[in-house]
Amino acid sequence: METILAREEDIIEEFSFFDDWMDKYTYLISLGKDLAKMIPESKTPENQIKGCQSQVWLNAKINENSIFFEADSDAIITRGMIALLLRVVQGQKPEEIAVYEFKFLQEIGLTAHLSPSRANGLLSMVKQIRLYGVAFQAKRK
């Protein structure tokens, strides 16, 4: 299993090849299109994170001390962001996820997507991911 740090470095390297914002967003949009859709039954009100602009759904399961997430959104760029966020945390340990801050977004110039003014649900999703980490950690003890 690759560490969070190694996965972050992979993403940063990928993004370093983009010369301009158009390449970057084309990639983000393609990630958004490729992200597996959540089945409608999982899109429950409990799993929904209401944003003013776009909606996000997030669900998580734990398997042998690794957390697996599934998430979705009604906006494609938000889905692309979800794909990036999940790529880093997928299958990682609860104690790591509980304190993880997604610092690689700064490096690849996408932190603005977590700004409260975007109201796209991503900021709450990041908090929710960490909460899953905390909750699954507590369950184990």
Partner: protein
């Protein structure tokens, strides 16, 4: 071409966003401020700052005179009968709340409040709260699919129990201009009080409250080239006398003892506490700036640009229009087939284009149209044809990227 010159009055518009020249098409959210307004606020704090209506010294007199001059200017601007019918508030939302709160002591269970389906949440929630506290019933003027109010329903909606009819002059989400006079006379025929949210109308058209015959009319400085945090409530004297004060405090009283106070006359009865003096004075300068160009000239300019933008948008096959009212102003709301408005907003921003996406604080409209939101461009006096051209170019690129 004189509008190129108008644009130069706005320092904020001369900057780059994400490396591209800023194209600001979100004026319905708030207009930018001309340099004269910004200078006036600096000037006020540099030379005239003092509390109004409270001192005998020279500065206080100067501040009070400037402050009251703006009340007179606004009174003339909307053709109110009396200066004291202009109440300064924090903004349109505050004005709606002031009136809705005042009616708590007037409405009884069984009374009815009629609100339109085209409203911004600010002209809906305060009436919902009033309905809850008074036991009055809330009823709605429905909208048609093209974004107009369905006035054929008025006959069945209005009756002798109708106490308030509230609606906007221009819809912030779709740009529809509502027939204020027609609805007002229907409401008056059953003795109801008429409240009009004019936040989107004041920057775009001549408003004559006596001619419209409305009982209340509200607006915000920041939507008409003035500062944020200040607005107006126009009310006919008789109504303003009838409703109790919204907030208690300094300036709104005549005499005070420990047990009971008598309230000051209009307009001070509704202006408790130190007002937003700098905001009001800045607004006065904005009003002069606007009147120098002339509201009719601004309307013609914006109508021309609106039609220009509509023609160009019609040529793009992916564009779906929301709100196609016959009478409309300064706003185009649309969607792109198969895409979410948020995605378009993010990509347009990358190209320096500021638009609004989402439900525009008017969720009932989006529910009615069964969409998550729209992309909205809104125009102002400083918008020029080149802004529209650059926006269309960026929109085409957006569509290409998303498909």
């Amino acid at each position: 071409m004189k509008y190129l010159k108008v644009k130069k009055d706005f320092p904020i518009l001369n900057q780059k966003i994400n490396g591209k020249p800023l194209i600001y098409l979100d004026s319905a959210a708030t207009t930018q401020k001309p340099k004269v307004v910004i200078d006036e606020i600096v000037n006020y704090y540099s030379f005239s700052n003092s509390n109004v209506h409270r001192g005998v010294h020279a500065l206080s007199e100067r501040a009070t005179d400037s402050f009251e001059e703006v009340r007179l200017g606004l009174c003339h601007h909307i053709n109110a009968k009396h200066q004291h019918e202009i109440i300064f508030t924090k903004g349109t939302t505050d004005s709606v709340n002031l009136v809705a709160h005042g009616f708590r002591s007037i409405l009884k269970p069984g009374d009815e409040i009629v609100v339109s389906e085209l409203e911004h949440h600010s002209n809906l929630i305060p009436w919902q709260m009033l309905a809850q506290t008074s036991g009055a019933k809330l009823k709605f003027i429905p909208m048609t699919t093209n974004g107009e109010l369905d006035l054929s329903t008025l006959g069945s909606l209005l009756n002798l129990n109708t106490k308030i009819v509230a609606f906007n002059h221009i819809s912030n989400a779709l740009g529809t201009i509502n027939p204020v006079k027609k609805i007002t006379s229907a409401a008056h025929s059953v003795g109801a009080c008429v409240f009009v949210d004019g936040a989107q109308a004041l920057p775009h058209m001549r408003v004559d409250v006596q001619n419209l015959d409305v009982d209340f009319y509200a607006g915000s400085a920041h939507k008409m080239y003035g500062p944020t945090g200040v607005g107006l409530l126009y009310g006919k004297s008789a109504w303003l006398e009838k409703i109790p004060p919204y907030q208690g405090g300094g300036e709104m009283i005549a005499e005070v003892s420990m047990e009971k106070s008598s309230y000051a006359g209009l307009p001070h009865k509704f202006e408790a506490g130190t007002p937003n003096i700098e905001g009001v004075i800045g607004w006065g300068t904005a009003l002069n700036w606007l009147n120098d160009i002339g509201i009719e000239n601004i309307k013609t300019h914006e109508d021309n640009l609106l039609n220009y933008a509509l023609e160009l948008l019609k040529e793009i096959p992916d564009v779906v229009f929301y709100g196609t009212a016959k009478e409309r102003a300064a706003v185009i709301s649309f969607g792109l087939k198969g895409t979410h408005p948020y995605d378009a907003g993010v990509l347009l921003d990358q190209m320096g284009i500021a638009v609004r996406t989402g439900h525009h604080c008017a969720q009932p409209i989006m529910t009615c149209l069964q969409i998550p939101g729209t992309i909205r461009i809104s125009l102002a006096a400083y918008t020029i044809q080149d802004d529209i051209d650059k926006f269309i170019e960026a929109l085409k690129k957006t569509i290409l990227l998303l498909n």
